[in-house]
């Protein structure tokens, strides 16, 4: 019996692969398992290739897993398009459509001999039992239930609920397709059983959602009352959530005419005193740059979510990457610090989004939440979150004496000045993108500019002390280390556990705060480090370079960086750590050699 199984399925757009993945995840959740599901598509509107990975485990899951345990190919052409996103190894059971007329010994996977290869007449079984090939995905779910013991009851319960409105006939057709799949599996047992252990938490309440919905829900929880945005993959679902729910909380949402108007309206709403947000992806972040600069100089709270995809320009619009880091930290001209936070999972997207609103309100600044396509669109099963443990901050309002001769940009000890809003008697001022004196009146003075730049940047000094925005795991004195953020952090967490199990003395730093760079936290972390890896999905090693810009990194710290849509496997990171260890040992031996 296993604790963990990773499924990968691919087919054409109409094959219902993602819907099968959804059913499997929900069934697993109903049976008490932890699960993560990621989706990946070609960029075609309809049809084209479509895939999903579903990982199911008896323990909480940190990432969508590495090599597949089970690969399902409804046709090979589409399956192969996903390349490294659906990696098959010698431990993979490969199930594929028999109608492809490819012999089990001749499947088109180069350089790998899977554990077992099984051709199944999936389409024919669907046609025979349900009268339509559209039931192929239900046959697949039946095969999975039969071979791996997941969802025997819960899958059909879910399908029954989903199709209830469409009539009993359709439900029965799907039941027959499911039963046929299960029966096939029973008649053709696997060489070695791959059943998953029953979950110990069966019946517990589970949430299922993805990063985008979690982000929007967190924003509303944090008191966000306005969203302005423009549709862009892969962030659009955030706006969709707002259009459905924000009205219930006295808020509103504007689908603007363009990205600039979207953030512009959010800037306006914030000026008017409400918590406001926009969301976008790379191309939109580029367009919003000027408005972000405006919000910085006018010191207006604002949350900007950037769900990263492959760039530059249109790039890989449906695939994940971390290459917006420089743009998030540095876009918009002028001397400015704009905090950048990054979640690492659907679950912590809640905490990070709430934190983003708190930082925006406290520091009166735009804050970027740097999510990515994988986190945004992957679904996770979650244990309920106790929202009462989260503190919600509000901007500092002027009161009493502040409103006698009110000065919007009044110098204070922590460089944060009370902020009024239209409607507040005594608080009128001019907000502006032009440099201004304390009252808000425009100025061209160099000395005022110097002073105001200092105010606007120094206020973030305290942010760099926030150690709770960093996670250190592993042995604190380890000589070998990893640094990773965003969705890559989950892979490194698993690599850490694997490396520790293999006896490596290693640790991991996951920054949730990416910018400003908290030098102190990194210096503390690197003190024991002789060798290490900064692991990231960017071609130019942006994270490594951002750190080098601010910190004297240990000489043995290297970059492990690659372009998006080429996921890291925990196993390859462990292998890289082993290599570092042997380098370290060699260099120590070198030191012990007697000097000539």
């Amino acid at each position: 019996m296993r604790k963990d199984l990773v499924f990968g399925m691919a087919g054409s757009g109409g094959d219902g692969i993602v819907s099968a993945g959804d059913s499997l995840l929900q069934a697993a959740a109903a049976e008490g398992y932890h699960g993560v599901m990621t989706k990946s598509f070609g960029s075609q509107i309809r049809g084209g290739e479509s895939s999903c990975r579903v990982r199911i485990s008896t323990t909480p899951i940190l990432n969508p897993g590495g090599n597949l345990d089970v690969a399902v190919a409804l046709n090979w052409e589409d399956f192969l398009k996903f390349g490294a996103e659906l990696p098959v190894s010698g431990n993979t059971v490969v199930i594929y459509e028999a109608a492809t007329n490819i012999k089990e010994s001749e499947i088109p996977l180069v350089g790998v001999t899977p554990l077992q290869v099984i051709a199944v007449p999936i389409a024919a079984m669907a046609k025979e039992t349900a009268g339509t090939e559209r039931a192929k995905n239900t046959v697949v779910l039946g095969l999975i239930a039969g071979w791996f013991g997941i969802g025997a009851v819960a899958v059909m319960k879910g399908i029954r609920k989903k199709l209830a409105k469409k009539g009993e006939e359709l439900v029965e057709a799907n039941q027959r397709a499911f039963d046929a799949g299960r029966a096939f599996a029973m008649e053709h047992p696997l060489k070695a059983s791959m059943n998953v252990l029953p979950s110990e938490t069966k019946g517990a309440v589970k949430l299922i959602t993805d990063g985008n919905d979690m982000c929007a829900a967190a924003a509303i929880f944090a008191g966000c009352q306005f969203f302005g945005g423009y549709p862009i993959t892969p962030s659009t679902e955030i706006m969709q959530f707002f259009t459905e729910h924000v009205w219930r909380y006295g808020g509103s949402v504007l689908q603007a005419e363009d990205e600039i108007a979207g953030i512009g309206a959010a800037v306006g709403a914030s000026f008017a005193g409400k918590k406001a947000m926009t969301a976008t992806s790379g191309p939109g972040l580029s367009l919003k740059a000027e408005m972000m600069g405006l919000a910085s100089i006018a010191e207006l709270p604002l949350v900007i979510v950037d769900v990263q995809r492959g760039g530059p320009s249109t790039g890989l619009p449906t695939k994940t990457e971390q290459s917006d880091l420089f743009a998030a930290a540095f876009s918009a001209h002028g001397d400015v610090i704009r905090p950048v936070l990054a979640p690492t999972s659907v679950a912590d997207t809640f905490r990070i989004t709430v934190e983003a609103f708190n930082l925006a309100e406290y520091y009166q600044t735009p804050v970027i939440v740097l999510s990515d396509q994988e986190i945004a669109s992957r679904k996770e099963t979650l244990d309920p979150i106790d929202t009462s443990q989260f503190k919600i901050l509000h901007r500092l309002r002027p009161a009493g004496a502040d409103l006698q001769d009110y000065k919007r940009f009044k110098p204070t000890e922590n460089h944060i000045s009370p902020i009024s809003h239209p409607g507040m008697l005594g608080g009128t001022y001019l907000a502006s993108g032009i440099e201004h004196v304390e009252s808000g009146a425009p100025t061209n003075s160099g000395s005022v500019h110097q002073r105001m730049n200092e105010k606007r940047t120094k206020k973030f000094d305290s942010l760099k002390e926030r150690k709770d925005l960093f996670e250190v795991t592993g042995n604190p004195d380890a000589p070998i280390a990893m640094v990773a953020w965003g969705s890559v952090a989950g892979v490194c967490r698993e690599a850490l556990a694997m490396a520790q199990a293999e006896g490596l003395n290693v640790k991991l730093l996951v920054p949730y705060l990416l910018y400003p760079v908290a030098e102190g936290v990194y210096n503390d972390f690197f003190r024991s480090v002789q060798k290490g890896l900064v692991v990231e999905q960017t071609h130019l090693a942006q994270t490594y370079k951002l750190l080098r810009m601010h910190i004297d990194l240990p000489k043995g710290l290297k970059s492990l960086a690659r372009s998006g849509a080429n996921p890291f496997l925990p196993s390859e990171i462990v292998a890289a750590l082993h290599l570092l260890l042997s380098e370290l040992q060699r260099s120590h031996e070198g030191e012990l050699q007697p000097q000539e």
Binding site: Q225, P384, T428
Partner: protein, 291 residues
């Protein structure tokens, strides 16, 4: 909302000294705004006045309202966010012809179709003054400027026809040649329940052409009232608006006699309807529970 009556035009004047050139038309425009606001009587702190970049976009700072001198071309998106966040505010937007019809030209159509209760004042001087005299979107074809040494090759935008075509509920034109009329038109625009647009022919004394100075404008001005124009007739308004650039018609081109609900009205309706079955904020994650 507070009591009317006691407020005077001077109550809306701030201490900032305008950067405008002596004789600039915008001095009259800001006077017109003070008078209109005093007539309406909303206290300054209940007014949000947004602008972009340009000579005329300095105008919010010269009032005692909450001002927002933002970035080039983006006064309207910001104004809309303000209005949506707090529909009780009186929201004004202002800027020049370049701000409104060139760099920000994409926004006005969408504000019009949303019909938010915002008044937009464009100070149209057919030139970029702040950057010292370049071609603007309302410059006449053939106009020689420092960026059109041999004359412009483009037809000008017609702001009046533009906003009428998109269905603006209130469209008017004013000029410093008639300060009393300008104040009255601005007041009427603000009172209109929905989006209102006023094009103000405000001469640039430094870079403007002779024909666009006060004397030249007076020579081509004609009040719409004197023509017997029916301001409820949108097609007649569009017909007259075609004379933009040749004649300067002053007054109200169009006022929708039956103003439709504003965006804010519709938002409130939706909020009232949906807030009845809202989960408390702290329980919003219950939406994700799978049973």
């Amino acid at each position: 909302m507070s009591a009317t009556c006691e407020l005077q035009p001077k109550d809306y004047k701030s201490d900032l000294k305008p950067i405008w050139c002596p004789g600039c038309g915008d001095f009259s425009v800001v006077q017109g705004i003070y008078r209109a606001l005093a007539a309406i009587g909303r206290p300054a702190h209940e007014i949000a006045f947004v602008s972009g970049i340009g000579c005329s976009s300095r105008i919010p700072g010269y009032t005692t309202a909450y001002g927002f001198n933002s970035v080039h071309g983006r006064s309207l998106p910001i104004a809309q966010g303000i209005k949506m966040a707090n529909p009780d505010l009186l929201v004004l937007a202002a800027g020049g012809d370049g701000d409104g019809f060139s760099i920000g030209g994409g926004h006005i159509a969408h504000l019009i179709r949303r019909n938010m209760d915002i008044t937009y004042l464009v100070m149209d001087n057919q030139i970029y003054g702040l950057t010292k005299g370049q071609l603007s979107p309302t410059s006449q074809k053939g106009r020689v400027t420092c960026t059109s040494k041999y004359g412009s090759l483009e037809e000008p935008v017609n702001p009046l026809l533009y906003v009428l075509a998109y269905g603006a509920g209130f469209v008017a034109q004013a000029s410093p040649t008639d300060l009393v009329g300008m104040a009255a038109v601005i007041e009427e625009a603000i009172r209109y329940p929905g989006f209102a647009f006023v094009n103000i022919q405000s001469p640039c004394v430094t870079y403007g052409e002779e024909a666009q100075q006060i004397k030249g404008l007076k020579a081509i001005q004609e009040s719409l009232a004197s023509l017997g124009h029916d301001s409820t007739d949108r097609l007649a308004a569009m017909d007259l608006a075609q004379h933009y650039g040749r004649k300067m018609h002053l007054g109200v081109f169009y006022r929708n006699p039956e103003p439709p609900p504003t965006y804010g009205d519709l938002v409130r309706e939706r909020q009232d309807l949906l807030s009845k079955d809202a989960l408390p904020r702290e329980r919003i994650l219950d939406l994700f529970i799978k049973k």
